[in-house]
Symmetry: C2
Subunit: 453 residues, 2 copies
């Protein structure tokens, strides 16, 4: 196995670079053709690795690539999920090299999608190829690689519900998360949920002269600021009534265990060039970023934002707001709660519209489950160190969807790093991490197949 991987390292890397060159940006319709190109590339590679069956499945949006190798119906089946679409790369001028012209530098691959998620899901196709080539695949494997994760996976639920038989599996394996450090492996046992909305505040029915009307009518930017500001109290605790009702607090033991996670606050602050961290009173930085719900304004705009000065009292102001949720908060319930509250705090003199975007549920993998133990054992062998269970801050909404529709648990065995700058300019993925993943995944298959029978 290791021999095969060693001999093919360069080939594996070159294929990944080819995949990274395709600008499969799902959010922007001008890249629609490229998204499809990426799907075709992925299908071709799964086929070449040894699949029985590969299909590009059409949806109302971007296609989903399905593949499988069934060696024995009585053996367990691992379903690998990933996504071949990527985040938009703007602002382009902040990239040191073009986002879709991958560069390998200082042991890292720089490109949009290098870590999220192409570098990570592609490890699974290469691991599959290695197991097939050395005849060591110990159980069945299925692949479901979609093209809309960055825009909410709107068509995935429909696909899953319509393909339950085909997608039947014993566990879902996903690499789209991070380890603490290259010498400190970890497994994400929790994901935050997501509620995302866009709000619009309207004051007067047209832009006004701020001298003639300033002070006399509500300025929607000033009002929106007040409304946003009111959503957190002086302890940075969210003020929406009943917002925290469904939150299951960690036990004292769980918090103590979490506090053992290696974390260097000084390096964290230095990396971000901030003088202080900032968050909910009574919680550590790790806790704030993983087991507490949050509310962030992702974008805000209104009035004159061009060059120079314009004394306008604008008609409208807008914001994109998202909340990260924790077990057992429910995305739709929180979205409705936010909408009702935001509308209720609008003062007279303005009108407010709230429009929900995609959401997703929070998720937890029990650390005494077979899938967790198999991943733990695989990583311990590959890294020479037992992985730490961590709770991630991000959301992978389809994980809760899979449990609901397929009654299957997910294990998040990812190999990225927080410093990989996903969703940011100069995203990258380490060669170390790419190859370590390809080495670890077959070990997961081996131990999972053993433990699950």
């Amino acid at each position: 196995m290791q021999g095969y991987i060693e001999q093919n390292k360069e080939k594996f890397l070159n294929e990944l670079l080819d995949l990274l060159r395709i600008p499969s940006v799902s959010a922007d319709s001008k890249f629609k053709g490229d998204v499809r190109k990426a799907a075709e590339f992925v299908a071709e590679k799964i086929q070449a690795a040894g699949a029985d069956l590969v299909e590009i499945c059409e949806t109302a949006g971007h296609p989903i690539v399905f593949g499988q190798k069934i060696i024995d119906e009585t053996l367990p089946t691992v379903l690998v999920y990933g996504h071949y679409d990527v985040q938009p790369a703007d602002p382009y001028e902040l990239w040191n090299s073009p986002p879709f012209e991958p560069v390998v530098k200082d042991g890292k691959i720089y490109a949009r999608g290098a870590c999220d998620d192409k570098g990570q899901f592609y490890m699974h196709i290469k691991a599959f190829e290695a197991m097939m080539a050395t005849n060591t695949l110990p159980c069945n494997v299925k692949f479901m690689i979609e093209g809309e994760e960055e825009i909410g996976s709107d068509n995935l639920g429909i696909f899953v519900a319509a393909n339950k038989d085909r997608l039947k599996a014993d566990v879902i394996l996903i690499s789209d998360t991070a380890i603490i450090a290259n010498d400190t492996p970890s497994i994400d046992v929790g994901l935050r949920g997501l509620s995302y909305l866009e709000v619009e505040v309207t004051g007067p029915n047209r832009d006004l002269h701020s001298g003639v009307y300033g002070g006399a009518v509500a300025n929607p930017i000033n009002v929106l600021s007040k409304m946003i500001a009111s959503l957190h109290d002086e302890n940075n605790h969210i003020t929406i009534p009943t917002f925290y009702d469904d939150v299951v607090d960690l036990t004292a033991e769980e918090r103590a265990a979490m506090a053992q996670t290696p974390f260097n606050l000084g390096a964290y602050k230095e990396d971000l060039a901030i003088d202080e961290v900032y968050g909910e009173t009574g919680y550590s930085t790790i806790e704030r970023a993983s087991i507490r719900p949050t509310l962030d304004v992702n974008g805000i705009w209104g009035g004159y934002i061009g060059e120079g000065a314009k004394t306008v009292l604008p008609s409208k102001a807008y914001a994109k707001i998202s909340m990260r949720l924790v077990p057992n908060q429910q995305s739709d319930k929180i979205t409705a709660l936010f909408t009702k509250h935001f509308e209720s705090i609008a003062p007279a003199g303005v009108q407010v519209k709230v429009r929900p975007h995609h959401g997703g549920e929070p998720y937890v993998t029990p650390t005494n489950s077979i899938e967790y133990l198999a991943a733990e054992k695989a990583m311990e062998e590959a890294f020479g160190k037992k992985p730490v269970p961590t709770r991630g801050g991000g959301s992978i909404p389809i994980v809760a969807l899979f449990e609901k529709e397929l009654q299957v648990k997910t294990v998040l065995m990812g190999f990225g790093l927080d410093s990989d700058a996903i969703h940011s300019p100069n995203e990258h993925y380490g060669l170390f991490n790419f190859y370590k993943g390809i080495e670890t995944i077959p070990l997961f298959f081996k131990y999972y197949a053993e433990m699950a029978q």
Copy 2:
């Protein structure tokens, strides 16, 4: 006089339409050539109207047009100020007809600059022409028509200081304000001052994934919202310490007189399609818009503001903020006060930058002054009704500059309407107002020349 004006109505209008066709947008360097073209047009017309001397005076920015007719050194001199530059016209898609292709409809001229300020200053050139043609010019007249009023008149102060002799006058006459209604003439006896700044709040040194970092680091949009929200208390009173110290409150009598100004709150709200007005507790709408200082956010932006959702925790957030000032607040002092306060309320976790833009001082014309009484008499004769003294909300910063550098008072005899939508899409100016101004201005000259000798 009236005969001459009647016979030339169509000619006057066509000339104004020609001037309105020139997109003299001072704020945008791509219109630089057009700004100059407008200056040349104005110079030509002042010459044709009968001036002794007309000059296009170069500055570090856009040129200033100077003209004069001296009939007798011993007579009073009226200096007419106006500006031939206009506000940007974006957003173009909100105009019913293109902003630089004037249309006369329902008795109004629709174009950017129709009211602010081309339609208004051009009345003075036509009034001058009429007085010259009928040999009724009773005193000396000078013209100073600049091209940077909409961007802060940065070079005007330099020009005025360098041309004190040439600009020597007894009164400055400006038409760049509004009357209450076409059947309710009024004269602006007060102008608010202006302090304008741009602020930048920086959190982390790059855009971050809001799942990985949300809740743990300061989000500059959330922080900026809190800072802006804190600038007003629950009574919409500005909270910057000592902000109101230099404000000279109106006496009870002055407030009572102001309360007599005709004002229809229902029509005001209906015109703006708002269910309620909104402002400082304890003051009426007219007071809030004229004799009280204010703080408005004119523009705000940060994070992802494009189509769809992006879960980013941005590095930066920005706002353009302006304050309208009243006597005796001073613009530079307030700008420094705001800067100090805004920097002081920034929490740990963010850095704040404050950059001042142009400002201007507040101003008041005493109602027992000769210039006011002459304007009052002229308007009473032309409108058949005595004008009401009003306090305007907007700022014309150069008025205080003129008093300081030339020791000359200004009378603001304007003919626009608040509904003319200056600084907004579909700006317009009434034919009634254009012609009424041309009729009234010679009356001002007549009475001023009488009273000032």
